[in-house]
Symmetry: C2
Subunit: 131 residues, 2 copies
């Protein structure tokens, strides 16, 4: 588990907000929630988010322009994390598939593409919402 004891006040607030949420939150949504705690400007939230993402404690969901707390208790060692996003209830499930990793690596080396951050997001309906 990534060390969390060195977070600054703002980072802690933002992380707590995300951990308390059912699903992804947009930066401005987070800001609204934290106004009572003294946050006032988007930048305060964005700075905290940048750091938290860097630490792997928070993930950005590109297709929603929003953020979720990492649900794994540990570091994903640089692996690509896949997200299954329920369009009904908003809940996000993280998972990692070594076979994806392998296929991605294969394609990249075949095309001499130096891989950086990879995004894999599946939208749809989770089991309970599909019923």
């Amino acid at each position: 588990m990534t060390d969390t004891s060195t977070l600054t006040r703002n980072q802690r607030l933002v992380l707590d907000a995300l951990e308390g949420a059912e699903g992804p939150l947009g930066a401005y949504r987070i800001l609204e929630e934290l106004r009572p705690n003294g946050l006032r400007a988007p930048l305060q939230v964005y700075r905290a988010l940048d750091r938290l993402v860097e630490l792997g404690l928070v993930h950005r969901i590109e297709c929603l322009n929003a953020f979720v707390a990492c649900s794994a208790g540990h570091d994903h060692g640089g692996e690509t994390i896949a997200f299954a996003i329920c369009e009904e209830c908003g809940r996000v499930t993280e998972f990692v598939d070594p076979e994806f990793e392998h296929r991605l690596g294969a394609w990249c080396s075949r095309h001499a593409f130096r891989r950086g951050k990879t995004t894999l997001e599946i939208r749809g309906l989770c089991e309970s919402c599909a019923a």
Copy 2:
């Protein structure tokens, strides 16, 4: 190849702008390019983009909030399209991997997740830029 002869003037303009570009363009960037052609408001661009995406002639790149012309001469039959995005030159390479499709399907059925649109975007450096 998707029929392109029924596009409206605005759709044609937007598609041409994207086809003429080296890489993805944001909606406002497209708007700037098309002002000389009489476009004035974001909505004109967004409406054309919506339609072009629907027709499969244009793809949205989520991690950039931008759009590219489809480089395949044909319809991708509902398959997930992967994008390799060079962070240096901006160029985007499309590809499809049936094995991804298969693994995704497997994960989704194992978790009873009803799959909708899937996004797979790899950022990094293309062969020429990595050199």
